[in-house]
């Protein structure tokens, strides 16, 4: 009995032990699986799970820093951005496609077929109308169509409309610069997008913001031009008036500070409104002052005179026989404008009366080699380096290619093409004492109101001596006082300048036209201490076509207004100099 009980106890103990072992194993397995799961979640899946949890309580938002502005020299805003909305569709969410297309076409002023084609597409996202007018967007929002969404975008806006459009240019649908300063400084001006992470609640409302530092760091660059809005306005106003009066094909005028090379105004006629640039022909977008080159005609004569005086081969009062209006060069007979028959003329009078034959005689005295060198020194045939896109170089033959006529033709501004900007830069060199300056259109680059880069005046080279410059100023004063430039006289100021009436080359006939002219006037004022240099060129005026009667009055009007605006007193004005108290 006792033995049997002992045996039972032993069996029970071993069963208990077995159970304990089994339970321990189970616990161990359970713990191991827990640890394994924890390891899997916390180590292996860590990154994935963290990002999934962040998605639930965080939202990434884009902060847009719009395209930088363009200012005139007095910080008047010439461009800005406005917020507009673009309309898009998610085609899969649209059930009644035909009905939606009809409504969209009516509200957004679209072609119904093209709207239907867009919303029928299998794509997930299609633009219906980018940067739609606010009225159309409001109307569409009221209808609330399924599958139609709105995205806020920035649109470039030019508040001054046509003003300085040839310089400023315009931007495309994605705000990319396509012309003018907008294109030249596109990389600098274009805005940027900064992504910021924000916390959100269960309803998706944003509850936290940490982007302040980034906001301070970001921001777009803006450009300050040398252009003066007021001078630009005068220039465009008077040029437009004259182009209209003479039913001319086009016109260009430039106002420049001859001492620094700063361009105060460039006017192009006809103009275009950059807010709606696509409504105009592409040729209107051109900046005629830099992208087009012309045969300058008689306004080139001061260059030959300056070169000859500076080279020391002639003096202002040297006399030349002007062959009584008929001069044979090679096999070509050269005459004077308006069939003038000049006899003996001083160099001063050759320029004042704009004698072609006299200019040839001066050029012959100077010689081919020297004339060629001076043309290059004055900057012709090369880009001026102004910060505007599409600048032309102008053209003239290389010296070995000059034939018997070349020296003669170039002396009165034929057989050479120059841009208006090159021409005014060259005349500015005569006005400022003999130094060719790089023309500048940009004054500074700013960011968050601070100047990041300032563009300083840059001299290219000395072209003529100070003495030659003084002698040339006297000659050009004589043109206005007693020569062809009488209509450029401004009461109370001494004006120096030169008229030009260039026959246009007709490629169809292979000769110079007898009906199409470019009328021009180039000059500076006050003559002895020039504050402004102005070039006016009017292409194919109808009726009267002489530079002295078509372009010179425009010069006078622009100069008179600009001098008053710049506070340059005339000799008949009362001027007081007071001590500061």
């Amino acid at each position: 009995m006792g033995r049997k009980k002992e045996k039972t106890n032993r069996t029970n103990q071993s069963a208990l032990k077995l159970r304990l072992v089994l339970v321990s194993i189970l616990f161990a397995l359970f713990s191991a699986s827990l640890i394994g799961r924890l390891f899997f979640l916390q180590v292996t899946q860590h990154e994935d799970l963290v990002s999934r949890s962040e998605k639930q309580y965080q939202r990434t938002i884009d902060i847009h820093y719009g395209r930088g502005s363009i200012f005139d020299r007095n910080m008047n805003e010439l461009t800005t951005n406005i917020e507009v909305e673009s309309v898009y569709a998610t085609p899969q969410e649209i059930i009644n496609k035909k009905g939606t297309a009809k409504t969209l076409a009516k509200a957004l002023n679209l072609d119904q077929q093209s709207a239907y084609k867009k919303i029928k597409s299998k794509r997930h996202f299609v633009w219906l109308k980018r940067k739609a007018p606010p009225m159309e967007v409001d109307q569409l929002k009221k209808i609330s169509l399924p599958g139609i969404g709105f995205k806020s975008e920035e649109k470039r806006f030019f508040p001054k409309r046509e003003l300085a459009s040839g310089i400023i240019g315009f931007t495309g649908i994605d705000n990319q610069g396509l012309a003018g300063i907008e294109h030249q400084y596109d990389t600098m001006l274009k805005g940027n997008i900064v992504r910021a992470v924000m916390a959100k609640d269960a309803r998706g409302n944003l509850v936290q913001f940490n982007g302040r530092n980034r906001r301070q760091m970001a921001g777009s660059h803006s450009i300050v031009l040398t252009i003066d809005e007021v001078i630009q306005f005068f220039t465009e106003y008077y040029l437009k008036k004259q182009v209209k009066k003479h039913q001319a094909k086009s016109g260009v005028a430039i106002v420049m500070n001859p001492n620094t090379g700063e361009v105060y105004a460039i006017a192009n006629m006809p103009q275009y409104n950059p807010n709606n640039y696509s409504a105009y022909k592409a040729k209107r977008w051109r900046n005629l002052a830099t992208s087009n080159s012309y045969e300058p005609g008689s306004i080139f004569k001061p260059i030959i005179a300056a070169a000859a005086i500076d080279a020391g081969v002639v003096r202002p009062h040297d006399i030349f026989f002007c062959e009584n209006g008929k001069f044979l060069v090679g096999k070509t007979n050269i005459g004077e404008a308006a069939d003038h028959k000049f006899g003996w003329l001083t160099l001063q009078n050759i320029i004042a009366k704009s004698s072609n034959i006299g200019s040839i005689k001066i050029a012959q005295q100077l010689g081919k080699r020297s004339f060629y060198d001076y043309i290059q020194k004055f900057g012709f045939g090369k880009k001026t380096g102004i910060a505007l896109p599409g600048e032309a170089t102008g053209r003239f033959k290389e010296l070995p290619a000059w034939d018997a006529m070349s020296l003669a033709s170039i002396s009165f501004g034929h057989e050479i093409s120059v841009t208006p900007l090159q021409m005014i830069s060259a005349i500015s060199a005569i006005a400022n004492g003999g130094t060719l300056m790089t023309p500048r259109i940009t004054r500074a680059i700013i960011k968050n109101g601070r100047v990041e880069k300032r563009f300083e005046p840059k001299a290219v080279r000395r072209v003529i001596s100070t003495q030659s410059s003084r002698q040339m100023v006297d000659i050009l004063k004589h043109v206005v006082k007693d020569g062809t430039g009488g209509k450029a006289v401004i009461k109370g100021y001494e004006v120096a300048g030169k008229t030009g009436t260039a026959q246009k080359y007709d490629s169809k006939t292979g000769s110079y036209s007898k009906t199409a002219y470019i009328s021009s006037f180039i000059g500076f004022v006050p003559a002895n201490a020039a504050k402004i240099a102005i070039l006016v060129m009017i292409d194919e005026p109808k009726g009267d076509y002489w530079g002295g009667s078509v372009a010179a009055p425009v010069f006078r009007s622009i100069a008179r207004e600009t001098l008053r605006y710049l506070n340059v007193p005339s000799s008949d004005q009362r001027v007081y100099i007071l001590d500061r108290v």
């Binding site: 609640d201 809005e229 007021v230 106003y237 004005q573 009362r574 001027v575 100099i577 500061r580």
Partner: protein, 84 residues
């Protein structure tokens, strides 16, 4: 003893929750003010654009000459004063 511990725990928890609730409340207020700020900036910008358009020299010249009857001065009517 248990009661004191429970009360302490409760106060601690309440303080923690209150702090968080206050933080979220302030965040909402911040967002509201931020939106108001952005709306005001947008309005200000639009007004500036309108001002710039109205200040167009073409328009001013036309108003000055036609509506008010102003004309440009003769040079003898101008007095220039320079300050040393």
């Amino acid at each position: 003893m248990v009661l004191v511990a429970a009360t302490g725990l409760m106060i601690g928890a309440m303080t923690f929750v209150w702090g968080n609730v206050r933080l979220v409340g302030l965040a909402y207020e911040h967002q509201k003010l931020d939106k108001e700020h952005r709306d005001l900036l947008r309005e200000n910008h639009l007004l500036r654009v309108e001002r710039e358009s109205l200040r167009s020299l073409d328009r001013i010249q036309s108003l000055a000459k036609r509506k008010i009857g102003l004309r440009e001065p003769e040079s003898r009517q101008i007095v220039t004063v320079f300050l040393k």
